[in-house]
Symmetry: C2
Subunit: 340 residues, 2 copies
């Protein structure tokens, strides 16, 4: 920096001001300084700046260690959209994986308390906490995405899962379906609660009994979505009175489920209608093309980043704690009226 100052013929403090907060220096000298910096190939040292200012410009995203269940399909898009928004605000994105072991928790806490990161976006249902240090009271702005953690006081960006599932279930009922097969992810998980709740609400609204829906899957939370679908197909095969409509909580499990039951001679949507969750692009090219509830992940990513920026900007944590972004049903050929 001293070199740049010398070459530009200005003081070192002026260089700093020109590069960091562009307001406080004359436009003409700023141009001169930039030219000098470019000529010398100078780039300010981020760590020195961070140390002095007391803030980093890194945001960490906390991914569940086993992102297999469902989420895997949408992760790249989430990452892309979040990173894009962050960069526009001058921030960088760091990845942190939260496994079920203490090591990864400790690692995340080190990041948080060591001043490495300025905020976090969390896609996991559990806040790391060990040895009295907890992410919750790290003082870091945190926003949760996909999962509603407003109970824990976290700004949350979610879709209207319950409502979406309720609507699609209602539509299936309207078409004449009366026996349902619900393909669950990890049991008790926010998504499971909401989505299954949506199914039940629709049944109730139609004056139907909860017994009409058979739950399958959801025993393990580290399972690959495809595996869940395969197991569920076995489960389905055992049923004497076959359900005519399947509601799956992720595209992955729907895809493998469909593949397996087609092999047993059943046809979609002739014998069974299927709808799932996520909106993976691949659904369009399945046979038959799968109906799916599309999660607007790009939009959610942007919203999460905006909330984070708000939280960083002001010391007060804002009141609104839950942002709902509407998902949309993509209707394809996998849904029809039941046979008779």
């Amino acid at each position: 920096m001293a070199d740049v100052a010398r070459l530009a013929g200005v003081a070192i403090s002026t260089v700093s001001r020109a590069l960091a907060n562009p307001g406080r220096v004359n436009e003409k000298t700023r141009a001169k300084i930039n030219a000098a910096a470019r000529q010398l190939g100078y780039t300010p040292n981020a760590m020195a700046r961070g140390l002095r200012v007391g803030k980093s410009n890194i945001i960490m995203i906390i991914l569940p260690g086993s992102l297999y269940y469902g989420a895997s399909q949408v992760i790249p898009q989430v990452l892309q959209s979040i990173n894009k928004s962050l960069i526009q605000g001058g921030y960088n994105l760091m990845i942190a994986n939260l496994d079920r072991d203490e090591i990864s928790e400790r690692h995340i806490l080190d990041l948080a308390f060591g001043g490495s990161v300025r905020g976090a976006i969390i896609l996991s249902s559990k806040l790391p906490e060990v040895d009295g240090r907890s992410l919750a009271n790290s003082g870091l702005p945190i926003v949760s995405m996909l999962l509603d953690m407003s109970d824990a006081g976290l700004q949350s960006v979610v879709t209207n899962d319950r409502e979406a599932v309720r609507d699609v279930t209602a539509e299936l009922i309207r078409l004449g379906h009366r026996r349902f097969f619900y393909l669950a992810g990890p049991e008790g998980n926010y998504h499971d609660v909401e989505r299954y709740g949506g199914v039940l609400e629709a049944l109730e609204a139609a004056g139907l009994s909860e017994d009409l829906v058979h739950r399958s899957g959801g025993h393990l939370d580290y399972q690959h979505g495809f595996d869940i679908g395969v197991q569920a197909a076995d489960d389905f095969a055992e049923l004497t009175e076959k359900p005519t409509a399947v509601i799956a909580t992720s595209d992955d499990m729907a895809i493998s489920f469909v593949s397996r039951i087609q092999r047993t001679g059943l046809s979609i949507p002739g014998d069974v209608s299927v709808v799932s969750f996520d909106g993976s692009p691949v659904c369009e090219f399945c046979s038959p093309p799968l109906s799916t509830i599309k999660q607007p992940v790009e939009e959610m990513g942007r919203a999460a980043v905006d909330l984070l920026f708000d939280a960083i900007g002001q010391r007060q944590n804002t009141a609104t704690v839950r942002t709902v972004i509407r998902s949309s049903l993509i209707l394809r050929e996998s849904i029809a009226a039941p046979k008779n």
Copy 2:
């Protein structure tokens, strides 16, 4: 840190030594120091350390901005495996997206030259370079993954694309196929060159003419893999003499291609055999299940990190510049002998 020292009854320098390089301090006092640190909820400031030591503990992964083509399916696995390996070595993973605009290039260069990162893993074919600053001469250890950039002097971790495609093409020839349809990604891309080269090699080895293979796709590099497959299906429909075997350079395009040509009444593998590249889990559940050449991405990720660690450890850049990890063909029902 001073507080910790006071509580533990030792000097501040001893605390530093105990926490940073554990060798130089007595085990007993180290335990005392750790206890004090835990009690006080103390975590060393990473930026201060980084500044003093002159090195960061962050590795950046440079992803192509449009990771749509093909790669999208494997990115989460790549990220997971790389991050896991990095953390074991005490490093963190930062994401950088390399788009075709100057902004993103500049951004990456700022990261590199600003001392923010200690090394890079690059999954893009182009090294950012602007204003005389180039990633190549940033002094940073860099390893390329998926793409062979050993020409540019970069350690590269790749699969044996050419060989794998050659083998599977030879197998198709053996089955009796004589007309081929090659579904290309971005033209001139390393993968395209290698894979197409593999096709040609197999033809030549069998004494067949290059004219037997029809190329499709590969005009744009920002296309979603699925779109390429859709377009290629239109392309395919126009051909008077239909090829009997399709070799696709990513699973995505194979999936959408298959979906579309099945709709025109053709059957797989009856009328057309299909094989593709990537090894996405979803292939198993397509109808028919797709044969695919599986890229061992976890293994590649580990290898890339190991190479990076080697490069960080020593000042000399090691001689070997290309690491090949063998891919494996997963044979499924989408391949059969041609009809007559």
